[in-house]
Amino acid sequence: MTDEGLLKRAASGDEVAFALLYQRHRDPVFRFTYRLLQSRELAEEITHDCFLSLIKEPRRFKPDDRKASLRTYLCAAARNLAFKHLRQGGSEAVIDDVTEWLRAPVSEEPLRQLLGAEISEAVRQAIGALSPLQREALILFEYEEMSLSEIAEVACVDVGTVKSRLYRARERLRILLAPYFEGRAETDREKCPI
C-alpha cells in the first residue's frame, strides 16, 4: 500500500497502518535528525513530534504534488523542528557522550577498533563544525541519498542553492578531515600493493 493510503487509514485510527508508516519512515527521520543535532534524545523527541503532527494534521501532506513524498515531508518537518531547537538553544548542538563511540564490533582488532572510533568521532566533529544549512544539505545528500531536487524541497530553496551549500560543505570537510585522507591512502596502499 502506498504512503498516502496508509496515512489515510492511520489518520482515521487504524493502528496497523500507522505502525507500517512508522516502520517505513522512522529510521530516515531519526538518522537525519540525529546527524543534524548530534543528540539521540533530541532526535527521538523530534521524531516523535513529527509522526504525531503528521497524524493530527494529515491534510498538510499533499500527495498530489509530483515532487512531494512522505519521506521528504517528514524530513522537512524534522528539519524545521531541529532548526527551531537550534535557534532557541544557540548555535551549539548538544553532543552525545564521546564514550559511546568507543564501542566497536568484537570481531575487529583492537587497533582497528580504536582507529574506527577515532575516525567516527572526527567525522562527527567535522560535520558538527559545518553551518546548519551546509550540514543539512550534506547529510541529506551523502547519508540519506536524496536527489538535489528533493533536498531543495526539504530546505525550501532552489537546486542551485543546494549545490552551493554542498560544495562549500565538502570543501570544509576535506580541510577538517585531511589527516584521515592521507592515513586512509596509506592503508589502502598496504592492502593493494599493485
Binding site: Y22, L52, E171, F181, R184
Partner: protein, 174 residues
C-alpha cells in the same frame, strides 16, 4: 568542482564521483548512527492511541462512512419511497377520522301501550217457563272473570240501539 544535477530519482553511480569524492564518502560512512531506543516507539504509539481515544466520541458526531454509489442510490430511493408511503398513509388516516359519525345516543322513550279493555258484561237471559231443557248451568269462572255461555241461535243484530241505563236494586244483580 563541477556538480552534475542529479535526476529526481537519484541512483548511486560510483562512476560519476571523482576519487576525492569517493574518499570523502568512505570517510563519512565511518560515522554510524545508534539505534533509537525502544521507549521512542512506546511513546509514539501511546500518544497515538490516546489521541484517538479522545476523538472517538467526536467520530460518532462528525464521522463519515464511505458507501459505493449504487448502494447510496438504492438507500436514497428506499428512503424516498418510505417517506412517500408514510405521508400518504397519514393523509388517508386523517380523512377517515373526519367521516366518523358521532356515537348514537340511546334514549328510552316510553311508548304508551294500548291495552285492550276487556269488558265483561253479564247478560241476563230470560228463560221460558216450559223450557227446562236448558240446564241452569252456572257461569264458569276462569280466573277472576265469570264467563256466561249464551245460545245465539236466531240472534239478529239490532239496527238501532237505544241504551237506557236503568239502575235496579241490588237484589237482581248477580
Amino acid at each position: 568542482m563541477n556538480y552534475q544535477e542529479n535526476p529526481p530519482n537519484r541512483q548511486v553511480e560510483p562512476d560519476e564521483n571523482t576519487g576525492a569524492d569517493r574518499e570523502l564518502k568512505n570517510l563519512l560512512n565511518e560515522w554510524t548512527v545508534p539505534e533509537p531506543t525502544a521507549a521512542l516507539g512506546e511513546r509514539v504509539f501511546s500518544n497515538y492511541r490516546s489521541q484517538f481515544h479522545r476523538r472517538e466520541w467526536w467520530r460518532w458526531v462528525a464521522g463519515s462512512i464511505r458507501l459505493p454509489v449504487p448502494v447510496a442510490a438504492m438507500a436514497g430511493l428506499l428512503l424516498c419511497a418510505t417517506s412517500y408511503l408514510a405521508v400518504r398513509k397519514a393523509t388517508t388516516h386523517s380523512v377517515k377520522i373526519v367521516t366518523v359519525s358521532a356515537p348514537t345516543k340511546v334514549v328510552e322513550v316510553p311508548v304508551p301501550v294500548i291495552q285492550e279493555r276487556v269488558v265483561t258484561r253479564v247478560v241476563y237471559a230470560k228463560r221460558n217457563a216450559g223450557d227446562r231443557s236448558a240446564p241452569d248451568v252456572p257461569a264458569p269462572i276462569e280466573g277472576n272473570k265469570a264467563i256466561a255461555k249464551v245460545d245465539m241461535t236466531g240472534f239478529r243484530p239490532v239496527s238501532e240501539i237505544k241504551i237506557i241505563v236503568v239502575k235496579g236494586d241490588e237484589s237482581n244483580e248477580k
